[in-house]
Amino acid sequence: MSVAVDRAAATLERHAARQRLREKIFAGATFVAAALVLLLLGGVVVALVTAAWPAFSHFGFAFFTTSSWNPVTEKFGALAAIYGTVVTSVIAMLLAVPVSFWIAVFLTELAPAWLKRPVGVAIELLAAVPSIIYGIWGLFVLAPVLQHTVQPWLIDWVGPLPVIGKLFQGPPYGIGVFTAGVVLAIMIVPFISAVMRDVFETVPDVLKESGYGLGATTWEVIWKVVVPYSRTGMVGGIMLGLGRALGETMAVTFVIGNAHRISPSLLAPGTTISASIANEFTEAVGALHSSSLIALGVVLSLMSLTVIAAARFMLLRLDRRALSSV
């Protein structure tokens, strides 16, 4: 009798031990995977900084303040690429933010129910199109159109103006900093508007209804209730879009012209950090050239990861489930 009980207890104990072991293994595996995500970011930073070190130590601080980029004499300065990255992103944001705002307004406050979903999905699909498609479309369709219509107009009408005119002088190349900014804008509009829509939808209906109850027009409710309520989220969405524009590679590489120089005119060819890396990395012969390109990558990581981290921090306050599109 007691032998049978002992045996049963032993079986049970073995079973429980096996369960505990499996539990340990599974829990351990999930922890390792989660830690891997953390290590990934650290690994990226360490690997890039290590590889960029020769360039940083060779050029010192001058790497950030000079714009000559000459593989033959092995003189490398990041200024032209940084300038191009910043300027294309600024152009993109100037064009994209207002349009995105209005699209988000349309989607949340204005569109009739039957139109909301299809238009929303269409905008999200536009965000899913890979960047290389924007690049090739920008090169073959947008650049010629800009070259023959928008750019001559800018040169004729804005070019002669004082100060700002300097930005729009010279021949209309078609490809260049300006065109890259426009392509970037088209690329990030769906992205920013999707985030803004999600943010707008977190505004409680009661708040909006009290606005309407006081006799406010739709626009007044949007500007005085919806916008103030969702300000942090909006800024977060905009900065997420900026992070994207800063690091975008393929869409820009096709249309920027890849010239390592800082021209006063926005219509002239230029380069960005990502475009320089994409163009030259596999063809870099000298060790210093590769190292300098990776150093550009470090600069880019610093810029975009800072912006993205700030954006994510602002979006943290929102319920994650509300942000389905990012």
Binding site: T50, G243, S325
Partner: protein, 281 residues
């Protein structure tokens, strides 16, 4: 002008602008799709799927590039999915509410938006340099690193949607957490998890920048994972910028193929998620 009239005008102008902005957004979607169809359909033929990429001036197709893209995307997902799934499980279950998981969640969200070219440089440093040559494996790893944050994010969100009662019921029957997770949570969230996978496939199948320094390209048919391999994004990049008419045509056809695949995957993912969670989107 009365105050009331001015308010009405402002309202009309504002709302009109929002309609115009939306029309602009939709216009670009249509413009891009139309260009892709116009240029891409011309090259759509059986040859596209039966012949490898040609030398300049000769005829050819995209067979090797399509094969390479499919293989690298699949390997990328095979590497990324288990890691993403487990990490997402940690965030939603074992690590729920801890400081560490809050940090990991934040880092994951940052990685989700990190520039893909940086990932390309990273994989170049950790794989291509030690191995001494470009390879399809390195490309697949780069794609996996881009897929992981997407999968982590959707896994966590989807597991959080499972009602607490189901977990409690399983625990009450004496199940260990791993049993509850694998036998209750995963099946309950299955279509959401599939959505995450579809979205990550859509995300990585068009990625170009991370492949530039990891696999590059291969003019010829190759199934060797330890060697350079052709892939659609690189072929599009290379051929679109070339002066040859037939290369450009192949680039457009490839662009059309990729875009249609990604749009189809994105739409499919949307259906999969609305079928279960009953959410709006």
């Amino acid at each position: 002008m009365s105050r009331r009239f001015r308010r009405k005008i402002t309202n009309a102008v504002a709302l009109g602008l929002s309609g115009i902005a939306t029309a602009i957004g939709l216009f670009f979607l249509c413009a891009i799709l139309w260009t892709l169809l116009k240029h891409g359909l011309a090259g759509m033929s059986a040859r596209l799927f039966t012949a490898s990429t040609p030398v300049a001036g000769a005829d050819g197709g995209l067979l090797n590039a399509i094969y390479g893209s499919v293989v690298m995307t699949l390997i990328g997902i095979l590497i990324g999915a288990p890691i993403g799934l487990l990490a997402g499980t940690y965030l939603a279950e074992y690590g729920r509410g801890t400081k560490l998981s809050a940090v990991i969640r934040f880092v994951n969200d940052v990685l989700l938006s990190a520039p893909s070219i940086i990932i390309g440089l990273f994989v170049y440093q950790i794989l291509v340099v030690p191995m001494g040559h470009f390879s399809a494996i390195a490309g697949a790893v780069a794609l996996a690193i881009i897929a992981i944050p997407v999968i982590v994010r959707t896994t966590e969100d989807m597991l959080n949607l499972v009602p607490q009662g189901m977990k409690d019921a399983s625990t009450a029957m004496g199940a260990y957490p791993w049993r509850t997770i694998t036998s209750v949570l995963y099946p309950a969230a299955r279509s959401g998890l599939v959505t995450g996978l579809l979205l990550s496939v859509a995300r990585i199948s068009g990625e170009t920048a991370p492949l530039l320094f990891t696999v590059i390209n291969n003019q010829f048919w190759s199934t060797n994972l330890n060697d350079q391999m052709a892939n659609l994004p690189y072929v599009i990049y290379q051929f679109a910028g070339s002066p040859y008419k037939n290369w450009q045509e192949l680039a457009w056809s490839g662009a059309l193929l990729i875009t249609l695949t990604i749009l189809a995957l994105s739409i499919l993912a949307r259906f999969a998620v609305s079928a279960t969670s009953g959410s709006k989107r």
